[in-house]
């Protein structure tokens, strides 16, 4: 039961509540138009994002995953985004071993006031995933 329009791909976004989710809200309030492929999951902090969530998403059918947190030194929880950066940087190197193009994963920092930057990020990343096309990995058995 897919509700995705045929030209859309599946992109999962993990956004921290304090900065990037707010930035996406700001983009909305400012009516900054974006492609519709992305689905956002709200997490308290980018440090909450377990790299395995991303792997799970990509193996289970996502074509791209985006993570965004607060700018370094602007984390609501002091240094959650630094933990995120280390983990996600490692993940980026691991993905090719799983047969997944690392370009399908992107992480960045966007503050609550940067609506335009969010629009740009979504637009660019969606374009990038579309260039890569749908991801074909052996589907995991649904739990």
């Amino acid at each position: 039961m897919s509700d995705v329009a045929p030209r859309e791909l599946r992109i999962v976004g993990f956004l921290c509540n304090w900065c990037s989710y707010g930035g996406a809200d700001t983009a909305g309030v400012s009516r900054f138009k974006q492609p519709t492929d992305l689905r956002i999951i709200r997490v308290p902090c980018s440090g909450r994002v377990d790299p395995l969530f991303i792997v799970k998403a990509l193996l289970n059918g996502a074509d791209g995953v985006l993570v965004s947190g607060c700018h370094p030194r602007d984390c609501h929880y002091t240094d959650g985004n630094f933990y995120a950066r280390r983990r996600l940087e490692m993940l980026k190197r691991l993905l090719p071993f799983l047969g997944i193009d690392e370009k399908r994963f992107y992480y960045t920092w966007i503050s609550a006031s940067e609506g335009a930057r969010w629009q740009q990020t979504v637009t660019d990343f969606t374009k990038r995933v579309h260039e890569l096309g749908p991801l074909h990995v052996k589907k995991e058995v649904a739990p």
């Binding site: 909305g28 999951i41 308290p44 909450r48 969530f53 607060c70 609501h76 503050s111």
Partner: protein, 653 residues
């Protein structure tokens, strides 16, 4: 499980670009969903009643509202479901407005996206567990950082309400920028005459403890229970002995210290009291200029001081204080003239900034209130004011308006005419922004009564010619080029955030925008709150602001603190980390990663070591949950299962 889903039209905001009826129809097909409906305005009172009625009639045990951002209305709806008897964590909000209807143009794609987002929320809410708050005690003391007019107002209002206040000011005296102004618009009140009494009140209030010439080193804790380390910077003068007589300042042989108070209009002594009305009126030594420090010998002030207050060996002192709330009122800075090369970049002594001119106009300033130009101390006949010197200029990264320059320029032009009756002032402006009460009348008065010539256009260049400054600009109303030969040029320099605003924000765990101004909780409805509970904002640290707005915010922040402190106990956020002691292997990686030192090791009765979360200290970031190798520590409300349920709702279904 009986999930009810309420899809909001939000007038046309959502229903305009999303087929809400179809979203409801598709949602009804989801396992566990027993009820799905649409409503015009779910957040309205009848809308909330609709939810409560459905909880009762349909026997719902979980609720999803698909509407605006949870950052907007999550608390509203949590209260709604709680009133109907559900645990408030049996609620999820699907954001189909900010993230869908407002950003996507195609109704078909938007509807598909909304259906999926609602599905994610349904899958998450099915995993939700009831959570319960605990209560904890509040320390009813408040810290105010910054002793400008906003901070003083906040401190006085809190203290008058019976709260104990600590006021920390980094410079040697309270007063901030307002203390430096000569007059205030639009009444031409003498600035220090109206501020002075407030400063004295701050000094004399028995509920206010003033830490002047002090800075915040460290802030630990959470709302209701903060531990603050305050660094009392070395003044090299024992303030318990100093009487503020000023003899040291008179006799000090080092006469070329930079005068921070007067923005360098004239030099001051190495030991100085910043201004006659300073609170506290105590001397301090500037070691960068003092001969005892630079040359190792002098000691004049130590010899002359009648109370033997001078102490060259003084060190910074760290004081620890405990408070329950913090008001941040750290103010603003002004752009460095060096960033404006077209206006001389600081090379020409007769091109000065508005705040410098303010000191020149002031009777207690370096020129005793006589208008003279810095180069030859002659009285200027032609004065040119340049508004928006740096403001509203994308090319130097300041696209915003500095708020009060239009007004103070009009004021300074009027004062110039008062001081030098045969003078002529010109103002180059982009737009005159005077929206306050009595403001527009004031700028008109400057033009009509005082004959100030307003030229609409920007100045392209300022350069010297003989002992005059040539100001070249455009008059966009006449469509011509203008050249004015000026004796003195005053730049209305742009307001910027303090250079250490970012560091302060880090200590406070609050956010700041691209320009370094602190971000309020909601731009319209929560202007003095931050997203960190217990931390409030007042004044220009949040954005350029004039005196009445700053005072208003100071009082507003104080009333927020009063409201917070009206309860003896506060409720904790139950969305904190929780350890499953059966699966915890005691590796204690979480203890090391926790940014808040909220996890301690605990020995169980059988001697096994496990992690233990101190609930009130845990801020709920979830770094520990992603660190734990065996999933034993889970951030409540954002557990692995809950987040994976959302991932699977997008990917697998």
């Amino acid at each position: 499980m009986r999930v009810g889903v309420f899809i909001c039209h939000c007038g046309n905001n959502i229903a305009g670009t999303i087929d809400v009826a179809r979203v409801a129809e598709e949602t009804r097909k989801l396992p566990g969903v027993v009820y799905a409906t649409t409503y015009m305005y779910t957040c309205s009172e009848p809308g909330q009643e609709e939810i409560q009625k459905a909880i009762k009639s349909e026997n719902l045990d979980r609720v999803v509202v698909a509407a605006c951002s949870p950052r907007m209305h999550e608390l509203t709806f949590r209260r709604t479901v709680a009133k109907a008897g559900l645990n408030r964590y049996f609620f999820e909000q699907a954001n189909i407005r900010e993230h869908v209807s407002w950003v996507g143009e195609d109704k078909e794609s938007n509807t598909g996206k909304a259906i999926e987002i609602v599905r994610m929320a349904v899958e998450k809410v099915k995993q939700n567990k009831p959570l319960y708050s605990t209560s904890f005690k509040v320390n009813k003391r408040v810290l105010v950082i910054g002793g400008g007019v906003a901070g003083m107002q906040a401190a006085l209002d809190c203290a008058d309400g019976g709260l104990e206040v600590l006021l920390v000011e980094k410079s040697p005296s309270v007063g901030g920028m307002m203390a430096r102004l000569d007059k205030t618009f639009p009444t031409i009140d003498c600035s220090i005459c109206i501020l002075g009494p407030k400063m004295v009140d701050v000094a004399q209030h028995d509920k206010i403890k003033l830490y002047a010439y002090s800075e915040i080193d460290e802030i630990k804790g959470y709302v209701g229970n903060y531990q603050i380390k305050i660094r009392k910077k070395a003044t090299y003068v024992d303030w318990t002995k100093c009487t503020g007589c000023g003899t040291c300042m008179e006799k000090c042989p080092s006469k070329n210290s930079y005068d921070h108070f007067n923005f360098g209009v004239a030099p001051t002594k190495a030991i100085n009291i910043p201004f006659p009305q300073a609170i506290p009126k105590k001397a301090k030594i500037d070691p960068d200029y003092c001969r005892q420090f630079t040359k190792g010998k002098c000691g004049v002030c130590a010899k002359i001081c009648p109370t033997k207050a001078i102490d060259y060996e003084m060190q910074d002192e760290i004081v620890t204080e405990e408070v329950g709330a913090i008001i941040v009122s750290t103010g603003y800075s002004l752009i460095d003239i060096e960033r404006l090369p077209e206006y001389g970049g600081g090379r020409y002594p007769d091109v000065i900034t508005g705040i410098q001119y303010e000191r020149i106009l002031n009777a207690s300033g370096p020129t005793s209130g006589h208008i003279v130009r810095p180069s030859d101390h002659a009285e200027p006949r032609t004065v040119v004011f340049v508004a928006c010197a740096g403001s509203r200029d994308k090319s130097i990264g300041i696209p915003y308006c500095s708020n009060f320059c239009c007004m103070y320029i009009a004021k300074q032009a009027i004062l110039t005419k008062d001081h030098v009756p045969d003078s002529q002032s010109y103002v180059f402006y982009m737009d005159i922004r005077s929206p306050g009460k009595g403001y527009d009348e004031f700028t008109r008065r400057a033009q009509e009564e005082y004959g100030v010539k307003y030229i609409r256009g920007r100045v392209s260049r300022i350069y010297p010619k003989g002992n005059k400054m040539i100001v070249k600009g455009a008059d966009t109303l006449l469509g011509t080029q203008v050249e004015v030969e000026a004796d003195l040029v005053v730049l209305g320099t742009a307001v910027i955030s303090n250079s250490d605003a970012g560091h302060m924000a880090e200590k406070l765990h609050i956010s700041y925008d691209t320009f370094g101004f602190y971000v309020e909780s909601h731009p319209k409805l929560r202007p003095v709150e931050t997203n960190t509970s217990g931390v409030f904002l007042a004044g220009a640290c949040q954005g350029p602001k004039d005196i009445p707005a700053s005072v208003g915010q100071g009082s507003a922040a104080a009333s927020k603190v009063q409201a917070l402190f009206s309860k003896d106990m506060l409720e904790s956020d139950p969305a904190v980390a929780k350890v499953n002691i059966n699966t915890c292997v005691g590796c204690l990686k979480c203890v090391k990663t926790c940014p808040f030192q909220a996890i301690k090791e605990k020995e169980l009765r059988d001697g096994r070591i496990v992690a233990d979360v101190i609930e009130t200290v845990c801020a709920g970031c979830g770094v520990c949950t992603s660190t734990c190798p065996c999933g034993a520590i889970q951030l409540q409300h954002f557990t692995d299962n809950q987040l994976l349920a959302e991932v699977n709702a997008i990917c697998l279904m």
